[in-house]
């Protein structure tokens, strides 16, 4: 896209997009560190992850301030209008992803013991891999302004939901077999739920990227695969 006649406007938009990109990197890192600390019971890493969330909160507030400033000063239209509204929404999603990662890290400290069975962690790890790759893809789609890539991310979220459903059943089975693992399993279940929500936020981001680029809404006709609400 060519530049604005008023170059300060370009700088403001670039600054806004830069903040969102920085948030993306931080959210991605927080998420992967939180799950690593869970799997390896690394309390130090968990603590660091919790502390780092502050930066995400600060950045989100900065994005909001910048948005209001741009609206007040520039009255953005067309592509610019879509770009700044998408940036704020994406910042909100990334801030929430940070909170969810922080919550996983807090549970690592709460569990504070080795996992009874490595088996338990495998499902969570698998789910994390998939969700993390979704998050990476959607953040790439944001920087590259790639609507098609965003659309594919939205479609793939059904898979994350499906894994969550099967993980939910698996954990339920463990708890019935051995009541001693209930505390751990409940924590793991919440972690899995957090990861599933991170997937939902990645989907929100995908929808916003698609709208930002095309000006059209992405049709929300995908089937909800998370069936735990019904089976619980």
């Amino acid at each position: 896209m060519s530049e604005h006649t008023v170059s300060a406007y370009d700088q403001e938009l670039t600054e806004l997009a830069g903040k969102v990109a920085e948030m993306g990197g931080l959210a991605e890192k927080a998420f992967s560190d939180a799950v690593s600390s869970l799997v390896s019971q690394d309390l130090e890493l968990a603590k660091v992850t919790i502390q780092k969330d502050e930066r995400l909160d600060t950045l989100q507030q900065e994005v909001e301030v910048k948005l209001i400033e741009i609206i007040a000063r520039r009255q953005p239209m067309g592509q610019d209008l879509r770009e700044i509204t998408a940036a704020t929404r994406i910042a909100n999603d990334l801030e929430r992803i940070g909170d969810l990662a922080k919550n996983v890290a807090k549970r690592v400290i709460a569990i504070d013991s080795d996992l009874q069975s490595k088996k338990l962690a495998i499902g969570v790890e698998h789910m994390t891999e998939l969700t993390l790759s979704q998050l990476k893809l959607v953040l790439d789609a944001y920087t590259r302004r790639d609507a098609e890539a965003a659309r594919r991310v939205q479609e793939a979220d059904a898979e994350v939901d499906a894994i969550y459903t099967s993980l939910f059943r698996e954990l339920l089975t463990y708890m019935m077999e051995d009541p001693r693992v209930i505390t751990q399993c409940v924590h793991l279940l919440f972690c899995a739920k957090n990861i599933e929500r991170i997937g939902d936020h990645a989907t929100n981001i995908a929808e916003n990227v698609y709208y930002m680029v095309t000006g059209e809404r992405l049709p929300e006709d995908r089937v909800k695969m998370d069936e735990t609400t019904f089976s619980a």
């Binding site: 896209m1 060519s2 530049e3 604005h4 006649t5 008023v6 406007y9 520039r74 009255q75 953005p76 239209m77 067309g78 592509q79 610019d80 209008l81 879509r82 000006g215 059209e216």
Partner: protein, 265 residues
């Protein structure tokens, strides 16, 4: 399903107030307007936007034959209002301009009293049989223009003594006084402060109920605020026309996009 667009088009054709087909305007050898086609809906506000010299004002002036007053100006193509060709030799331009009123960039009240400014049109068109009827027309026009409360006690004072915003609303009252169906506005707020502008915009929104309004404006925010449809002109060409919210959030043409976002070279 496939026939829907055709039906829609057909109904748009029949409900349009103004219909322009292949309109060309020449100033001597200069081809100022090229192949403009547009349907303007009744009881709505249509905004023309575009950079200086893009032809938006020239095109606006074809709608009540104001270009007839410029010797070297030539208009081709057809423009119909309610299905009638306004460039037909039988059409009296003076009658046409009563039906299609105009408000200009700079408020231009006559150097007469407020009363006479509004009464001028009805008098020359013989719209009132006596003083009482003329009084009624003046009062109701000033009311419709939102100026009655401010003007009723000073009707004998000169119109030129009012503030800029009041003068512009006086000009709108003057246009309304001859019962037009269409009101053309060529940058009606560019000489007004923000409060006077807001009053004129509020007035435009009220007038929309009874009139078809076409407004040329340099302020995109104004076009976004007051209009239902927006047309973007560039270098004599009508680039894009559509619902105002679409033009300002998701324009289809790159030139429109560049213009509304402030990227024009």
């Amino acid at each position: 399903m496939n026939e829907m667009p055709n039906l829609e088009q057909a109904s748009a054709m029949t409900t349009s107030k103004i219909s322009a087909n292949n309109v060309q305007v020449y100033y001597g050898d200069t081809h100022a307007i090229r192949d403009v086609n547009i349907e303007i809906q009744p009881q709505s506000v249509t905004a023309f936007i575009g950079p200086s010299g893009c032809g938006k004002s020239t095109f606006l002036r074809t709608l009540n034959r104001m270009n007839d007053t410029i010797d070297i100006c030539r208009v081709e193509g057809t423009i119909t209002i309610d299905g009638e060709d306004i460039y037909n030799a039988k059409v009296d331009p003076v009658q046409l301009r009563a039906k299609v009123g105009m408000v200009f960039q700079k408020p231009n009240p006559f150097p007469k009293s407020i009363y006479d400014n509004v009464a001028y049109g009805p008098r020359i068109h013989g719209l009132a049989r006596n003083k009482a009827e003329l009084d009624d027309i003046v009062a109701s026009s000033l009311q419709k223009a939102g100026l009655w409360e401010e003007a009723k006690d000073r009707l004998d004072e000169p119109g030129t003594g009012m503030s800029g915003g009041q003068q512009q609303r006086l000009c709108i009252a003057r246009a309304i006084a001859v019962s037009p169906e269409v009101i053309l506005m060529d940058e009606p707020c560019s000489a007004l402060d923000p409060i006077a502008t807001a009053k004129v915009e509020e007035l435009i929104d009220e007038l929309r109920e009874n009139y078809t309004i076409v407004i040329v404006t340099h302020s995109m925010q104004q076009a976004a605020r007051v209009s239902q449809r927006t047309a973007f002109f560039h270098m004599g060409v009508l680039v894009e026309e559509g619902p105002t919210e679409d033009i300002f959030t998701n324009p289809k043409d790159k030139r429109t996009q560049d213009y509304i976002t402030g990227r024009f070279g």
